[in-house]
């Protein structure tokens, strides 16, 4: 596999963030926070009128992008910063850029962007390929 500094990683897109996914993840995370489940709870907290995706799901989208870019690769390290929320109905795309290649170890930067609102998650990752 040929990897060069500056390479763009193929994007990974979720066309529509679904409330059903949030419901499933509230079980996976054992976290029944109603802002992920109940629009009325979101309104009551003054956080808008759409359910809010759990933060770790947004990291998982980025992981999908990285693993698709480097088939058979293994993530060694990853640092994510949460810059804004992702809401039900959003279309999100994870992308990345190679910043270093050392032997079989590739470093990249990444972002997760929401159509119309910009970057909601950014960070760095190192993958053994």
């Amino acid at each position: 596999m040929s990897v060069t500094v500056g390479d763009s990683l193929p994007p990974f897109t979720i066309e529509r963030i679904s409330p059903e996914g949030m419901r499933d993840w509230s079980v996976f995370l054992a976290d029944p926070n109603p802002i992920h489940l109940d629009v009325e709870a979101v309104r009551a907290k003054g956080l808008g009128d759409k359910r809010i995706n759990q933060g770790p799901i947004n990291v998982a989208y980025v992981i999908n992008m990285l693993l698709a870019a480097f088939p058979g690769g293994r993530i060694e390290a990853m640092d994510s910063r949460f810059l804004d929320n992702v809401y039900e109905g959003d279309r999100v795309t994870a992308t990345g850029t190679v910043t270093a290649v050392e032997g079989n170890r590739v470093s990249c930067t990444f972002t997760l962007d929401v159509d119309g609102r910009g970057t909601v998650n950014s960070g760095t990752a190192t993958i053994a390929i």
Binding site: I14, F28, N33, I35, V59, I63, I75, D79
Partner: protein, 150 residues
Amino acid sequence: MSDFPPAPDVAGTALDGIKVFTISAGENAALCRSIGVEPAADGSAHPIYYYIATQVAMGKTVAGLCETCEFDVDDGPMMGSSGVRFTAPLRVGESYKVTGEILSLVRKQSRKLGVMDVLTYRLRLHPATGGPALLETDNVWVLPRKELAA
């Protein structure tokens, strides 16, 4: 800042868990499909289990962790950042346990959020049968202190 009381002194609080977390094939498959991919064919679990397994099997619930910081979970903790270092992939069918601790709780004034506490905690995931950690994760949460707003 001197007008505010200091953040609770919680650094060093242990987060060692007593639960064993097993990554089931069924849940891993459901999780993968919920985020638009198929589960890996090689028996590895989705790497996001670094966050899930450590959160679910740490020694406190999310609400309990907030309570330790004298923060009501209903006031809305926010994720600031999450970092992880893996030494080995997580495997479907394997069982894990968690050790960890709170690293710091620092009170700050933010132009956007007002007074807030920044919580940093570290968790490690070990084989349930014992042995060195397969991963270490540091998470940072922001706890808005509405009661200290001007």
